[in-house]
Amino acid sequence: MNQRRPYRSYVSYMDRSREYYAAQGYSQPYSWAHHDDVPFTPLRKPLSECRVGCVTTAGKMDAEAERQGRRKVRELYAMAANPAPARLFTADLFWDKGATHTDDVGSFLPLNHLAQYAAGGRIGSVSSRFYGVPTDYSQGKTSLRDAPKILEWCREDGVDAMLLSAL
């Protein structure tokens, strides 16, 4: 349907969160990562021969933390991809808890769908592990601690391409 709008349709989370935290009295807004240059690596072999991995921002389940209602410790992890986990811990992450839910892991971590694409020959295989990276307020920790570890796991598992889904 043809429409006219005096504003962009998609939500700017940078604007929204800045205004929200300002209303809570935080005078110093969060500075988001910005780069002028962007690295790009082309696929080096046919997708049907590639092993594809997944990275998620969701955490491993911690029944004890959940039962006690306390905040779970955020940690970097690698976990078996088959079978795909039935649930992951998302309560401490920044997502729209009023509009949706994360009860269906497939809505944010596509392991089962990738397995189907592997079975159909669209991709070579799915990495035996998927990887969890905590969303950290500190961009330094993400770049210097988490990203190199994910790369290391990726090499150990022979991953040729990675899908990264952020809640």
Binding site: E19, Q24, L43, A99, S107, L114, R122, I123, L163
Partner: protein
């Protein structure tokens, strides 16, 4: 997440970021981005809609094969069904301004107390 994708790209691993926070991902700058204009939480498709999820993942795989340069964004054709979530998320208006200011003040107070507690231990 975008920073991790950039690190993988810098080290020879092709990546696709799937997400719904378009401004955050594009400001950071990534090689390939599958954007679905949904509330945050379901970047791979609506919960329990396996067909939609499979289609979105398929678009990510297509990008691995077809994108030829960095900052390639594809917007998936799916709609959430209503637009109420757009204004409701982290809304600030006259109805909640005072409550938000109070919450912030209380949180800072709790943080100061927790810090003092840690220093005493």
């Amino acid at each position: 997440m975008s920073l991790v994708a950039r690190h993988l790209e810098e080290n020879g691993v092709p990546t696709v970021v799937m997400g719904s926070a378009r401004d955050v991902v594009e400001e950071c700058g990534v090689a390939r981005f599958v954007f679905t204009d949904f509330p945050l939480g379901n970047p791979c498709g609506k919960p329990w809609d396996a067909e939609m999820q499979r289609a979105i993942v398929g678009m990510g795989l297509d990008m691995l094969e077809r994108a030829w340069m960095a900052r390639t964004t594809v917007q998936t054709p799916f709609l959430w069904g209503n637009d109420e979530w757009r204004d409701a998320f982290m809304r600030v208006d006259d109805s909640n301004r005072e409550a938000l200011a109070r919450e912030g003040k209380e949180r800072r107070h709790r943080q100061v107390e927790a810090k003092q507690e840690r220093l005493r231990m």
